[in-house]
Symmetry: C7
């Protein structure tokens, strides 16, 4: 395998797509985090989270049944190993 | 069903479109929230809310019969289960 | 009528276009509001207001015979029912 | 005439173009204002002002023989009736 | 001549191009100014200044033999009459 | 070799691609740094880091098994020589 | 030669390209500066610096063997005459 020619399937946006239905933690530019199941994501990083909770500085602030986060606010998406 | 190949209809912008006429809560980047019936939304996340109320830190600030929110200000759209 | 398939004419930018010549309140990202007759608007949300007044925190600051607001500054456009 | 179908010539950018050589007041996002004759403007709202003066909080700060303002900084262009 | 139909050559970006090799003052969004000979400029307002000086609040801060300013930082370009 | 005509393969985004699987330090605009193995990167500078740690002002803040950083937040990517 | 018709090769992005392998000082919007050899640059002003040092308010903060700076953060690139 040649690390200089990664296959298209390993590109960041494809890896995100493959994490559909996994637990993720989305941190936004305003420092707030949302943890939940990533029901879907698109190439702009618009994300649908279900059964999500919002945390600020580690403490839970609110719960969300279903929320669509606009991609331009996203700082990162952390993919949790546990399902 | 293959979670790695979600159908197009489950993409974030399509899910938003399907929530037309549902109650939503739109939070903007400036932390202000608008709750009301989402009369319509487009792919840029421009949103029309009717019978909306603006809340800041949980207290109602103003009422809106019909308001068009410019999409680039949107942090997220929370879809309420209740109609 | 199927709410999942709204007609094109109800999209946010079209609804704004139809509000031409109505009284509107345009709030900008810097919190300042402009109220007046919306003589025109384009898809970028560039807005022409005539006989407008600028208010900040509810008190009138200035009057404008004719002003063109650059769309990227717009937070929302509230459409007034009264003409 | 149908207000729901404004002619193209009344669109915001066209109205601005027609105000060429008129006195305008350009307010920027940083709150500073520039008053002068608008020698030209393009669809991005890049503006050429001649014989302009810069004012901040109402007091004159500087004079400009000819200045090209980059459009993305523009908050609004107020078109003065007087020539 | 019809002021409502300015020729293409008078558009803001063309006027800037014609000011090549003239003395200009470029003010950036961060309030810092750069004065020097504008060796070149492109439609994005990327500017090359030579023999430039940087001033902040009117006092000289630094000298630049040749500097390329990224256009998106530009607030305005003031074209000096003197050469 | 002509330094004025660098080959395409030495362009910044290509150099980044070639650093796939190397240790990198990604600094974001909010001053936070993420160090880890860059599993992949795309032309927008969206980055996948694995076995990453977040540091702020030099002290470790958190660990990340796998994180996708949205490119528009990136200030720079420092490529570590050591593997 | 007509200064009103500069050749394409003198455009800002071309001049930057020609400065490949020269010493440059890149100042970012956050006021931090990076000095080093510009190994490459692309039209977005993404820059590769090698043997670079970071300075803040004139004092050295860190050293970088090889760093890729994302173009949108760049305020200017100063091209040093000395090699």
């Amino acid at each position: 395998m040649n690390p200089q020619a990664p296959t298209q399937s390993k590109r960041p946006l494809n890896v995100l797509q493959k994490a559909t239905n996994k637990q993720v933690c989305v941190r936004l530019k305003n420092e707030i985090e949302y943890k939940g199941k990533m029901a879907n994501v698109d190439p702009y990083m618009n994300v649908i989270l279900v059964d999500a909770e919002e945390t600020e500085n580690g403490s839970k602030v609110a719960n969300y049944g279903k929320v669509v986060i606009r991609g331009n606010n996203v700082l990162y998406v952390k993919i949790e190993d546990r399902l």
